[in-house]
């Protein structure tokens, strides 16, 4: 699904922040991406999410070499990836329902065709009572769940989550982890970037550990 070969990345003329990354993410897999703060977790997620291009090496995503893709082709691939940002990135002028429906709307689907689907998902993540609420009035946990719902509504093949439990208490953190586990069971590959060791201990999964710009894999 995703293959990195000797990937390196530097910002401008600075030192390489990621060095010689070689790994694969298999279909239907679940992995944690971890490492100390500043190790490059978010940078690696951005590479996975195609918002950064590597300065060297080869990235293959869903069988496509990223270096050869046009902007529109990148957009098509992004449609197959769901991402949950640490800061949620919900649009404040749209309701919870509209935020979650956004990926389907940009695909050009008519509202009538996805309304039930979105509402069902909102109930599934426990936001059934907050369908018409705007993000500024949602709690941190509710925003997090809305962001997760938006990431999974288009049934992505790959789900990336950046510190998804960073803003919530341990109880909610555990609930969210269960959500990701459920998604994994339905066939989505999941990558969760976190430095929360307690969270990782709750779920037996592959660990990708970034340290000094290099990746160590513990299967």
């Amino acid at each position: 699904m995703v293959r990195f070969e000797n990937v390196g990345l530097r910002y401008g003329l600075g030192p390489e922040v990621l060095r010689d990354l070689t790994f694969q993410i298999e279909p239907h897999s679940f992995q944690f991406l971890t490492g100390p703060s500043g190790a490059g977790k978010t940078t690696l997620l951005r590479l996975l999410f195609l918002s950064l291009r590597p300065t060297r090496g080869l990235i293959t995503l869903f069988g496509h070499d990223l270096a050869t893709l046009s902007k529109d082709e990148l957009a098509m691939l992004r449609g197959r990836i769901g991402i949950v940002f640490q800061d949620f990135r919900l649009l404040d002028h749209l309701t919870t329902y509209e935020n979650v429906a956004l990926p389907l709307r940009v695909m050009g689907r008519q509202e009538a065709s996805y309304r039930d689907e979105v509402i069902e998902l909102l109930h599934w993540v426990g936001l059934g009572e907050r369908i018409s609420a705007l993000p500024p009035v949602l709690s941190g946990g509710e925003k997090q769940r809305a962001a997760i719902a938006r990431a999974v509504i288009a049934r992505p093949q790959l789900l990336l989550a950046d510190e998804p439990t960073g803003n919530v208490d341990p109880t909610l953190g555990r609930r969210l982890l269960r959500l990701f586990a459920e998604l994994h069971k339905t066939g989505t590959s999941v990558v969760i970037a976190t430095h929360d060791i307690a969270l990782m201990d709750q779920y037996d999964a592959r660990r990708l550990v970034l340290h000094d710009g290099r990746l160590h894999i513990y299967d």
């Binding site: 529109d72 509402i119 109930h123 938006r150 609930r175 269960r178 459920e182």
Partner: protein, 322 residues
């Protein structure tokens, strides 16, 4: 798993009718209306459209009046018979009339009598004028036929041969000057329209750039959820098309109202000396259905230019964003 944890459910545990009621509002636009400096832009577009429409109307008026003048002049030529010593001017005039009548293509020949010639000069020389004391030329006005054009060069030659002191004036100099003047006015109007359109495009460019800067987080999220640049540009374009139509309709509507009012005032004062003078110079202030149609076309053009400019700017800006 504890009971409070969210789970995948196969049958809905909620009332779908209730839920349908909670999602009643029409989907909000992805780019919020309030994030675009809409009112200021509508005002600018309205002013620009008004100026463009007034210019267009003025060009149509000038063009129409000049064409009327030209066709009047082109259907008429004048023979001037100057008095010569020892010749009977009445006989010369009569001969010129005969020559003119014999020319094919001349529909009507009307010599100005002595009294009429005196009347023509009255404003300058006063009443009680005796033309015998002055070497005043006499005029013969020829109306030309609609179908066949007379051979004016032949007529001129014949007059030269048969009538002493006769000359033919086909108003060519006047017509050419008129054509040049009307052409200049139309070109000037076209240039003004071009400037107004360019200024509108610049205003829209600034407004779009500012809207893009304000909405950058939204654009980023749209990229993350897989939106193509064309989709994002379309979202912005939709807003600007609406703003263009609003501004255009206000400006174009005001211009149409202005022309209707001018026309109405012209009718009220019809018959007064000032109005007759104005009507003689500029015609009536009526731009006609075609003129009003042109203004409506201008409104559509300005809205389209607004939308297209914003789309171009958005696409250009998106190309520079990763």
């Amino acid at each position: 798993m504890t009971e409070s944890e969210p789970t995948i459910t196969t049958t809905p545990d909620y009332d779908q009718a209730d839920v349908a009621e909670t999602v009643t509002r029409k989907e909000a636009p992805i780019v919020p209306v309030t994030s675009i400096a809409g009112r200021a832009l509508v005002a600018v577009i309205a002013i620009m459209t008004f100026l463009a429409a007034v210019t267009l109307g003025a060009v149509i008026l000038v063009h129409g009046t000049a064409r009327e003048w030209q066709s009047d002049l082109a259907r008429e030529v004048t023979i001037q018979v100057r008095p010569a010593p020892g010749r009977d001017i009445e006989a010369e005039v009569q001969r010129a009339v005969e020559v003119a009548r014999a020319t094919p293509g001349v529909a009507e020949v009307r010599p100005y009598s002595r009294a009429e010639s005196a009347q023509l000069l009255e404003p300058w020389l006063g009443t009680g004028l005796s033309l015998d004391d002055l070497p005043v030329p006499r005029l013969i006005v020829l109306r030309l036929g609609e179908d066949t054009a007379p051979d004016l060069d032949r007529l001129r030659a014949q007059l030269g041969e048969k009538v002493t002191g006769a000359s033919l004036d086909d108003h060519r100099g006047w017509t050419e000057r008129m054509r040049a003047m009307a052409g200049t006015a139309v070109a000037l109007g076209g240039a003004l329209l071009g400037l107004v359109l360019a200024a509108t495009m610049l205003c829209v460019t600034f407004a779009t750039r500012s809207a893009m800067a304000t909405n950058r987080p939204i654009v980023e999220v749209l990229h993350f959820v897989g939106a193509k640049d064309g989709f994002i540009a379309g979202e912005f374009q939709q807003h600007f098309l609406l703003l263009g139509f609003k501004g255009g309709a206000i400006g174009g509507g005001a211009a149409i109202a202005l022309f209707l009012l001018a026309n109405l005032i012209g009718r009220w004062f019809r018959g007064s000396a000032e109005q007759d003078q104005l009507a003689a110079l500029f015609g009536t202030f009526a731009i006609g259905p075609a003129g009003y149609g042109a203004i409506v076309g201008l409104v559509v053009l300005i809205a389209a230019v607004t939308a297209a400019t914003s789309r171009l700017i958005v696409q250009h800006t998106l190309q520079t964003m990763e």
